[in-house]
Symmetry: C2
Subunit: 111 residues, 2 copies
């Protein structure tokens, strides 16, 4: 059996970072926009919400519905914030990458 990975997936990490970056303004559509503009990478709607849900399920993100009083058209937003556990996961990912990249210089290593 392949149990739940102890490590953040590639996209999961990107999403978690976007949430941190957006602080109190992190909701689906906005997170998606943030990733697309910052990295140039295309993010589909499905990828976005599926990943957000999974991260919340793992306890890395906490979701809350938009506070009342917002005046604008459209469906209510769902905001996300990172949890202590999510921060820890990001730190672990960063440490692992840091160790693997340490001392690596890519130029002159291709065959």
């Amino acid at each position: 059996m392949a149990g739940r990975s102890a490590y953040l997936g590639e996209f999961e990490q990107v999403v978690l970072l976007a949430v941190v970056r957006l602080k109190d303004g992190a909701y689906g559509t906005n997170i998606r926009r943030e990733i697309e503009t910052r990295t140039g990478r295309r993010v589909t709607i499905g990828a976005m919400y599926v990943t957000l849900d999974r991260l919340a399920e793992k306890g890395y993100l906490r979701a809350r519905d938009a506070p009342a009083g917002e005046i604008r058209g459209g469906r209510p937003r769902r905001f996300f914030t990172i949890t202590a556990s999510g921060v820890a996961a990001l730190e672990a990912a960063r440490t692992l990458q840091s160790r693997m990249w340490a001392g690596i210089q890519l130029r002159g290593n291709r065959s």
Copy 2:
């Protein structure tokens, strides 16, 4: 349809980096050992070879059988070296992560 991802998976990146680090000494068992000792992360045999094969299939790694003349017990080793395409993939991954991490400070962001 979900075509092949344009991005390196989390473990794929780790493996690619281990191959670069080991230079001419990169073969399955050794790569595995390198990742485990350097990061403390457990790597199963299956994960190792499946990923190695996938990376070779994508053109990020080139495989060659052990040169004759090696005197030691056991099955012949299969050595891997990174390709120019593999180097490019690593650079792209690094750039993306760098953009997402830019300016992020984790302390004081948990909820």
